[in-house]
Subunit: 117 residues, 2 copies
Amino acid sequence: MFHIDFASRTPIYEQLYNNILQLISLNVLKPDEKLPPVRILAVDLGINPNTVSKVYKMLEQNGYIYTGIGRGSFIAPVSNKDNAEKQLALEEFEKSVKKSYGVGITKEELIKIINSL
Amino acid sequence: MFHIDFASRTPIYEQLYNNILQLISLNVLKPDEKLPPVRILAVDLGINPNTVSKVYKMLEQNGYIYTGIGRGSFIAPVSNKDNAEKQLALEEFEKSVKKSYGVGITKEELIKIINSL
DNA sequence: CAAATTGTACTATTTGATATAATACAATTA
DNA sequence: TAATTGTATTATATCAAATAGTACAATTTG
């Protein structure tokens, strides 16, 4: 369900954050569905509970989940599903733009492509 | 001519590498043109000579420049490696645009992002 | 030729973000 | 009450990136 690439350059907390966001956007994780407890997920993934906690905190602050001590963490209502999708797409888009700039592609070329699609 | 964003998360050496690559692609840096000496560029950018040296080494290993002790570093004749990289970047870009459109992001939003980068 | 220039090599150290370790507390549930 | 669960805190470890300092080798310059 969740997966961490320990060889990757992107931090674990960021990978997990995006991972969960993606599962939300794909509706694999449905509204009000319970997420694994911090400690359990940490053991499952072989990472530190603090790292999972950090991710849950980030997700809650961005409105993707709601949490409560003793209760657990749960996927927030549907309205955020779209936001998750959009955010992921935009992140990917930003990356590709930066990469394009990095190899000398101009802004005009990119806009031309956008208009052609 | 060259620029480093010290607030960025991407390493200095990577920023400089991409920076130079971009200037080559844009033909701002022309074949056989001399690059600033390691020490000079380091002072100019306010970074360590070793970091510049690392970048020059990377650039040479990838065939973008040619160097010689006592002589300096120079832009290599144009290779088709650049074109390949551009092609890849453009393909990735197209994908991300289509995906963005798929989740309801507008053309205007994308262009706004492009302009902000 | 001598001095300056320039890329390279090397070791040591510092820095900052990330991650871990260990423990404790607070709120909820069973 | 006992277990569960998110949160908080402090300390430590880790690793890549960057810096500092020095020295060497090849080329150019005067």
